[in-house]
């Protein structure tokens, strides 16, 4: 597997950058592309489904707020440093940024990603969208979330190790 990875990446950092109009139906296509791209670029890491999921959820959060302006996606994979980064940038008001920053800070008051995710399942209304995407990325994609704001544009970053152990939980532990 190490040989395959070296052949695919040359051991160098990989950058994938996409800029797109905020069209909802693009999300599925970008998720599929990211999944197949990662399977090709980082074979053996077994991270493609998790990174694709993170891209899907972050884009899904960004597009409704983009007001017709471009949404930027960056995927950065550094095999040597064992790091991966997914970031999505879109236009944003001060109030929207402050609410998002507070939300992400609030997430990390619960140190256990699964405990927070399960708690969110019980607290977010099931009749409307929103509220589960970021907890899902944190737990299921095993990525940590942060947010930056500059020039009227917000960037949500999801980053973590390239190689992670398979998630093991026993149902009921967190109920």
């Amino acid at each position: 597997m190490k040989t395959e990875r070296k052949e695919a990446t040359g051991g160098h950092t990989i950058h994938l950058i996409l800029r797109m109009k905020p069209v909802w139906v693009f999300i599925d296509e970008v998720r599929r592309f990211v999944e197949s791209f990662c399977a090709c670029a980082i074979p053996g890491a077994n991270r493609e489904a998790q990174l694709a999921l993170a891209v899907h959820e972050l884009m899904q959060n960004a597009i409704p707020h983009a007001r017709g302006d471009d949404v930027d996606l960056l995927l950065e994979v550094d095999p040597a440093a064992d790091r991966v980064l997914v970031s999505v940038t879109n236009v944003c008001t001060d109030d929207e940024y402050n609410a998002l920053r507070d939300r992400i800070e609030g997430m990390y008051r619960e140190r256990d990603a699964l405990a927070h995710y399960v708690k969110s399942m019980g607290q977010t209304p099931t009749s409307s969208r929103g509220g589960l995407g970021l907890p899902r990325v944190r737990f299921e994609a095993q990525l940590d979330l942060s947010v930056k704001y500059a020039g009227g544009r917000v960037t949500v970053e999801a980053s973590g190790p390239l190689r992670v152990p398979a998630i093991q939980v026993s149902g009921g532990k967190y109920a």
């Binding site: 599925d28 077994n46 489904a49 409704p64 399942m121 099931t126």
Partner: protein, 133 residues
């Protein structure tokens, strides 16, 4: 005999959108709810919650102890779509203990997201969710 979507007295228990569909089918093994495609619309609950409610009513009427929820042809489900399964668990938990039933999810290892999503869901629906596959 092939499985057929159940057609009740008034409406079939099924939904079909551009990118996904779901249908309740009756089989010798019991009730199966098959999901296909990609659940990724902005708010899938508008379609899926009423569908789940119809399935729930059917299961209660027939007194089944378990429903197989078939994800094997489901390519992806976004977090908003997953809320419909949370809604389903909540509906089950509203029932008296002796009227509750289990959701047995049939998953495929070919869709890696299914394992982690269902593991998390099993932690929410502790006595409700069972995962096969």
């Amino acid at each position: 005999m092939p499985s057929q979507p159940l057609v009740g007295a008034r409406l079939p228990v099924q939904v079909s959108e551009e990118k996904y569909s779901a249908a309740l089918v009756t089989e010798p093994q019991g009730i199966r709810v098959a999901f296909r495609g990609t659940i990724s619309t902005i708010n899938p609950g508008v379609v899926l919650n009423p569908f789940v409610d119809a399935v729930h009513d059917h299961v209660r009427t027939h007194g089944a102890s378990e429903v197989r929820v078939d994800f094997r042809e489901l390519e992806f489900c976004n977090s908003s779509g997953f809320k419909s399964f949370i809604h389903w668990i909540q509906r089950i938990n509203e029932l008296p203990a002796n009227g509750r039933y289990r959701l047995r999810f049939l998953a495929t290892s070919a869709r890696k997201w299914q394992r982690t999503s269902l593991l998390a869901l099993s932690c929410y629906g502790v006595n409700t969710v069972v995962i096969d596959g």
